[in-house]
Subunit: 325 residues, 2 copies
């Protein structure tokens, strides 16, 4: 079939129906780290530590704004951060949200991986257990998923499955879906609801928006950028089309209700809507929210941005509708 030739273009920063705070993220230049292509796990880790050092100093103020406290702990040997909101309404007290952070399976170790968990706890008023899963060079596939499953199984000992939610964005969105795939494979009960945000649901460079939004998404930028390299590095030779790495290829029958979030400029717009459609085709309740002008995962960059509050409001309302049912 004949390919389409698309001429070069100049894109202005969109402003209609976009808050000034979000416009700043949309107006940012291409992520300078998009061409980072290290060869060793130690190099990935050094970059992860550098990025984390930019995140961690902001956490105390963020926790204060979100009215949560965070405690580091371990669950059956897996590192976790437990995020507890000051105020948990009655109907949320028997609920637990498991959080798996993003970062292409290599970024956001330790406390730096708690921002989304803090927002989920703060905006949603749920207790959230953030899994600080092992990443290269400490461990490779399926270590991240194994750690997440260890925490999920532990939570099931004290919490009814229907009262457990799972949330994550990007690699965390993929892990959210991978956990459900793995739970199905292992005969574990399904969680009550899931919130896979712009999931890396296909790490085989398949998905049309990888190409239509190449050099349009200012976060991931390109399917030849750092993120796909990082996923392959984590996979460590494993088949990239395994649904435990590319969950878009899973049989989604019997999945729990899911809310998906993405943006129109997102490299993973396609791989979010492919999951949405596969869920719907399998008869699963699946809600899709696409934010105007946003690149990859920008809806969860800063709790002070109105669209972030909106996105977590949608997710919290969805969990409120489906958890426990």
């Amino acid at each position: 079939m004949t390919p389409l030739q698309v001429p070069a273009k100049t894109l202005q920063v969109p402003t209609a129906d976009i808050s000034p705070e979000m416009q700043k993220f949309i107006a940012a230049p291409l992520n300078p780290g998009w061409t980072f292509h290290p060869k060793t796990g130690e190099e990935w880790r050094a970059m992860a530590d550098k990025i984390a050092a930019g995140v961690v100093p902001g956490l105390p103020a963020m926790q204060e704004r979100m009215h949560v406290k965070v405690e580091s702990s371990t669950i059956d040997g897996v590192r976790v951060n437990i995020v507890t909101p000051d105020d948990i309404p009655e109907q949320n007290r028997d609920k637990v949200i498991v959080h798996v952070h993003g970062g292409c399976y290599v970024y956001f170790p330790g406390a730096s991986g708690t921002t989304e968990a803090i927002m989920m706890a703060g905006f949603g008023h749920y207790k959230v257990i953030a899994v600080d899963y092992r990443m290269p060079p400490e461990a490779y596939f399926p270590a991240a998923l194994d750690d997440a499953m260890t925490v999920y199984k532990s939570v099931l000992k004290t919490t009814a499955p229907k009262n457990v939610g799972i949330i994550g964005t990007s690699a965390g969105g993929a892990l959210t879906l991978e956990m459900v795939v793995k739970a199905k494979q292992d005969g574990l009960p399904m969680p009550g609801a899931i919130a896979p945000g712009t999931p890396m649901s296909d790490v085989t460079k398949t998905g049309d928006s990888f190409y239509t939004n190449e050099f349009v998404d200012n976060v991931l930028v390109s399917p030849t950028g750092f993120c796909d390299d990082a996923a392959a590095f984590y996979a460590h030779g494993h088949d990239m089309k395994d649904p435990l790495l590319s969950p878009v290829y899973a049989d989604m029958t019997g999945f729990p209700p899911a809310i998906l979030t993405t943006g129109t400029r997102d490299q993973l717009l396609s791989n979010t809507v492919r999951v949405h459609r596969k869920l719907r085709r399998a008869g699963v309740v699946a809600d899709l929210n696409v934010y105007e002008g946003e690149s990859h995962a920008q809806y969860q960059f800063d709790d002070r941005v109105p669209e972030t509050k909106e996105a977590f409001g949608e997710i919290a309302a969805f969990f409120g509708s489906y958890l426990g049912k």
Copy 2:
């Protein structure tokens, strides 16, 4: 704010999770009519007749596949085509769907404007009244909306408002929204549910995907193409930002439940998600379906395409959930 420079690119035809039938539409070259810029209503009408002549010969076979019959009539002086499925299940017999066709307010007169109505009736098993509204050079804004409202008001005489649905795509998606805006303005009751498909909700060339998907969408192609010209021609000097022409600017409080449909390559992806978000922000039930790789309105180009059956299945299920409630 600094604009983004996007280099030229070559886009392959996406195939993952896309039927071979839909791939053919996605693989089509840019719509050769995209640069059509006539100066008179007569020229628009000549082109509309030419396009219609390509559609009409296929209608008998389509009606047969969809198991519907179509009767031309008038309602309070407005031309309509009444589409009746051979089989209407009990729960749909007191329901009526009003259809407003697309075509940038200038295309698809008469029988050529019935294809979507036939699909709605055939896939959804509802009686559908397709409004063959006046278009240039016969009449200008607000003639299309006036004709649609005449039919809506007539239907309300015999059908409870909660049992009336409205569907339309592109200009028809805009008209669907404009009808609700106008009903609010005039103190008429709201319909039970609406299905605005990839609505031309903003005819001021605002909406980020006009630019990100310029020369990517092979149907509308560009905000400087025929469609925006046609909308301005229909507007006839009226303020393009009036919510009766650009309904994204309407107050959407109190709107009925809405299901929206678009594609990742659609010029109107942004103006679909902007409406979706505005509805949600106003507390309205609003469902969004985005189809992988599709350009503007391709989900309703051919009833034999699996994604078309899927899209109308979604719309019919949504009407089934909300009409009469």
